[in-house]
Subunit: 149 residues, 2 copies
């Protein structure tokens, strides 16, 4: 990998970390800064686990405001992070291993499960920005020989 | 949109249709032809609804063989198809409205629900090929104001 390609991968991974940090800190300004703009007829898009696709900055950021307001505590440990850069677009896949708080006031955490995400970033004049987030619940641990789709 | 860009969008939509047709016909050869190859250190990837990410042609195609063997009937009606082409990569999002058969022998169909998918294709010498499929279950119809993530 060239030094330039390695720098792109590192930059994309950094913005991806900032995406999860913004959620962990329930900081809508930081979340807003991670996302790109709606441009050239292409709106940003977001699939929260179990949700349909939301399109456009206003709808996506409103959903984050709602989710943050309803999440007392959340922490991510990312595993299996893989980045592929194609010129001005980058596709990152990762597994989100999630800790969330139980009822408000509880001090113990319940393992909140596992989400698999595809995060697609575009190169902008301000750096890499998130264009499409697709997160989905992992409802099984291992692929079972008898498992149906 | 230039004529060249429109041709790319049409070609990507066509391969995407072939992907779902291959599944509907339970034709593993057609499914195999839709997918790209593992190359340059980048394996193809597939997230079936509720599954973790599978990586690599052999694992991905084995999963399709299993799923097809366990799906007596499936039919897709795609809605909200949007394609964005970035040079040699294209990202297509769509909603899969699914009809599946009930128990073997039943003649009536049950609406099998709705899946949202992000399908990422790369341009190859043989045309556009699927590189990453991410399908996830839509567990709610409408975004509720009180909904949590």
């Amino acid at each position: 990998m060239s030094a330039e390609a390695a720098a792109d991968v590192a930059a994309v991974e950094s913005v991806n970390q900032e995406f999860y940090a913004a959620f962990e800190h329930a900081d809508l300004d930081r979340m807003s800064a991670v996302w790109g703009t709606d441009e050239n007829g292409y709106e940003i898009g977001c699939v929260h686990p179990g949700w349909p696709l939301l399109r456009g900055r206003s709808e996506v950021l409103r959903s984050w405001a709602l989710i943050m307001a309803n999440t007392p505590y959340i922490q991510f440990v990312l595993t299996d992070v893989q980045v592929r850069v194609f010129g001005d677009v980058a596709v990152l896949t990762c597994a989100e291993n999630i800790l969330t708080a139980g009822e408000a006031g509880e001090s113990s955490f319940a393992a909140g499960g596992r989400v698999v995400s595809t995060n697609t970033f575009t190169r902008t004049p301000d750096g890499w920005r998130l264009w499409l987030h697709h997160g989905s619940p992992v409802l099984q641990g291992e692929v079972d020989e008898d498992e149906e789709s």
